[in-house]
Each structure stands twice: as structure tokens, then as C-alpha cells.
Amino acid sequence: MSAPPTYSLESTDNGNFLLNLGPQHPGTHGVLRVVLQMDGEYILAADPVLGYGHRMQEKIAENMTYLQALPYVCRMDYLGAMSYSLAWVCAVEKLCSFEVPERAVHVRVMACELNRIASHLLWWGAYLLDLGAFTPFLQAFADREQILDLLEYITGSRLTYCYFRFGGLAADVDDVFLRRVEDFVTGFRQRLPRYHDLVTGNVIFHHRSKDVGVILPFEAAGYGVTGPCLRGSGFAYDVRKCEPYSGYDRFEFAVPAEQEGDCLARYNVRMAEMEQSLAIIEQAVATIPDGPYRARVPRVIRPPAGEVAMAVETPRGELVIFMVSDGSTRPCRVKFRVPSFANLSIFARLARGQLLADALAILGSLDMVIPEVDR
């Protein structure tokens, strides 16, 4: 490994110049800094500089009891907080071999998929914002707001839910919620064509996203890209399908994948995924059984010594929580393998030789949550 490069913001000798993209830049969606070496509008080299939002999440989790760390994991990916909670509780449940009641499984899946749609909707708007269109952002917000209302109705919170508990849920859902979810699913299905009319078919959007930022299949595998970015490159790999967790094997859904690997492919995958999520939610609502929402688990969680790895498909890709227990009330070691970090690693490769505008489109299409990258 060579020493990390040092930057001076003076023009370099060969007429190129360094451009500091971020840490405060509307196109990086957070405190990400990318140092670009530019030749005019072309990017010769891109170097993401991380750590502006580093909060030592892993270390914090190691210094807390299993339950106390639960609110913290939501903070990493505030747009897919449900999936993070799910990963954490599932990891602990796997470690302690807790059973989860069927009703709780259905609600968990429902909540996670609603959250996934909300996350994809926000991405949809933010990506178009990167491409210079403002209306999609707030149009997506109008629908996302309904999901947040739904989730707030059951969890009491709009973003960092902290709703799941070991062995079940914090609180039960009622029929009003289930009916509202059904209404949302039918309503959103009807509104989806508007999204396609406004953006998917738009010729400018096509020009901006087609053949831009192509991730080749072998690169995707080599860089450890997961989630919609991987599925955009031709792999129909989805943890929900390949290693079903939390009862995902009970539901029928397809794993959309595209072959091209460009921004448009990633876009299409996410749009198709929203429809699949709707299908999952529909099934979960239709088949939700009555019964307890929470299994009886010890008040103080003291897992047996051992280790566990729990993989979960978050809206951004595969999240793996690796946890080592020494038999005490606190985890001995926690490691998060977060999707945004792996997806960001390919950005430098993709941005090379691109125009500045394309680089931002690529960055947007990777759907980054910077606190997740930095942790």
C-alpha cells in the first residue's frame, strides 16, 4: 500500500487542477468529500475522502448492552433504519436462538418493505435532483410522507424507528394500520405511472443516464458492490432470496435485474423493486395471523459465547452484522459490513475520464448514505 496522497489545492504542473467536491456540496448528499483531479470538465482521477461523519458506531455498540445499541444502529442508515434494526435484532436472535412469533414476522417484513419504498422514493427524487430536476424530489416526498405517516403510526417515529425488539416488536399493530397499508399500496400503484411519465420516459433523463457509469459484472463482484447496483450489472443477487431471513421465504417476489450496468439500469432496478416491495406488503397484509407480537425473552439479554453473521438486504445493498459474544451482556466485537461503503469504493473507478456532471450522476445512482459510509 502506498502512502495516502497529500493534496495541495494549487494548480498542478500539467495544467490540471484539483477540485474539492464537498464536504459541503449539494451533489454529495452529506459530508462526503471527493478530491477530483480535473482537466477542464473531465475528471482524471477521483479520490473520496471519508470520515467527516465518523461516529465510531461499532465501538459504541461494543460498549452497550444489546438492547441499548438498538437505537444506535438506526442512525447509520437513517433512510433504511428498519432494515438496520432488523439486522441487529435478527443477529441477536440468531445468537440466542429466540423464536419470533408469526405476527411479528409479518409486521417486520411489512415495515421493512415500506421503509425500502420510502428509501427508494427519496433516492429517486435525490437522483433527479443531481440531474438538475427539482420537482421529482418533492413529488417523491409527497408519497414518501404517506409511508412515514404509516410507520409513525406504528412506531411513533418518522426516521429512526427503533421498533423491533428481540423476539418481536415493541408494540402491536392494529387493523387501522393494516387497512391504511392496503390503501397505500393500491394508491401508490396508481401513482407509479406518473413517476414513469415524469422521469423514466423523459428523453433528457435517458441521455443523462444511459451508458453512464457502467459497472461491468466482474468489477461489481470484485469491488463487493451489492444491492440495486449489483443487480443493475446483471446479477440477480438479493439476500432476501438467496439467504432468506425473517420469513422472506414465505412471500412471492421477483428479484429484478438488468444487464447494462449503467445508471439507467440501476434506476430501472430500483423502480421495479418498489413494485416488488408493494407485492410483498400486499401478501404480508393478506396473510398476517393473529397471535402474540412478542415472544417471551429474558429481560437481560445474555447470549451464549459465540459469533454470528447476519446478512440483510437493506435498500442500499447487503448489510452484514458480524457479532462476537463472550457471554456477557455486551457484545465483545461488532463489525458492520455496510453496503454504501462498498458501493462507494467503485466510484473512483467509475468517475475516471467522465465529465463532472456525469460523475455526480454516477454518485447519485449509487445511492449513498454518508453516515453509513463513515459509521
Binding site: N14, G15, D39, G40, Y42, G353
Partner: protein, 169 residues
């Protein structure tokens, strides 16, 4: 009283135009920063447009703005933004060789002024009809007009060729 006020205003306007021409031209040749030179040139050309207007040809003045500022200067600016080095240290505009054109210009100017001495200069107040210019361009002066277009075509082809050679990435 009122007439003299109008006269003062016009004199001031004329002085501004002159200042623009001379100052702009001086800035264009003496400034060390390339972009300052460029804007000096723009100023000088704007001033020349003002002179045309003053001489009773608003059409020519507008054309001056459109062609020299709108087209030529923008093309120069386009070139400037494409140049790699802004050449601040390598340039020494006040070279001794620069004296040669200065001497020549002074000589020419003094000769012109001498030949004009004693004569009364009357600006033609006759309005130039645009349609007459059109007929002239497509009649008596068709050949030079066409030659200019060939020159422009050559310039465009040359630019495309250079762009193709230096095509990057």
C-alpha cells in the same frame, strides 16, 4: 442654456466613448493578465461601436457589437477557457520590439492628421439604408463577400481539425 446642457451631455458621452476606445486598447496591449487584455479588447470594440453610432450609422454600431463582441470576442474567450496555461509569468508585453508598431502608428496618425489639417470635417448626416447595403453586398461587392465566407469556412474546418487532433480521453 438648455442647448448647451445637451451639448455638454453629448460631449461627455463622446469623451466616454473615446476613453473606452483608447483605454480599452491600452489595457488590451499592456495588461499582464490575459483576461484583463481580453476585457480591454471588449471595451475598445464597444467604444468603436459607439463611434460608429456617433458617425450616424447605428446599423454598423449594432453589427460591430454583434460580430466583434458577440462572435469574435466570444470565440476568443472560448479559446481562453480552453488554453491550459494562463501564461502570467511567461509574458512580457512591454518588450522593446513593441516599440516598432507604436512608432508606426504614431507616424501614420501624424501623417493623417497633417493631411487633414485646415480642412473642415463634416460627418455625413445621410442615413444609410439597410436595403442598400444588402444590394451592395449581393451586387458590386459579391466577390469579396463570398471570399470572406470562404475564409470563415477555412477557419471552421481548421478548428475542427485541431479539435480532432487534440481529442482527449
Amino acid at each position: 442654456m438648455f442647448a448647451s446642457f445637451v451639448h455638454t451631455v453629448y460631449t461627455l458621452a463622446f469623451a466616454t466613448i473615446l476613453l473606452l476606445v483608447v483605454g480599452g486598447a491600452l489595457l488590451a496591449v499592456t495588461a499582464r493578465n490575459l483576461i484583463h487584455c481580453f476585457f480591454g479588447l471588449v471595451g475598445a470594440l464597444l467604444g468603436v461601436a459607439g463611434l460608429y453610432y456617433n458617425l450616424g450609422s447605428p446599423l454598423l454600431a449594432v453589427m460591430q457589437v454583434m460580430i466583434y463582441i458577440g462572435a469574435v470576442c466570444v470565440a476568443i474567450a472560448f479559446g481562453l477557457t480552453l488554453t491550459r496555461k494562463q501564461g502570467e509569468e511567461g509574458m512580457r508585453p512591454l518588450d522593446i520590439k513593441a516599440a516598432i508598431p507604436v512608432v508606426l502608428v504614431v507616424a501614420m496618425l501624424s501623417a493623417t492628421l497633417k493631411s487633414l489639417a485646415g480642412r473642415e470635417i463634416v460627418a455625413s448626416a445621410r442615413k444609410i439604408d439597410e436595403s442598400r447595403i444588402g444590394w451592395m453586398l449581393l451586387g458590386d461587392y459579391l466577390l469579396p463577400f463570398e471570399l470572406i465566407s470562404i475564409l470563415l469556412t477555412v477557419a471552421v474546418i481548421g478548428a475542427v481539425t485541431i479539435a480532432l487532433i487534440n481529442r482527449r480521453i
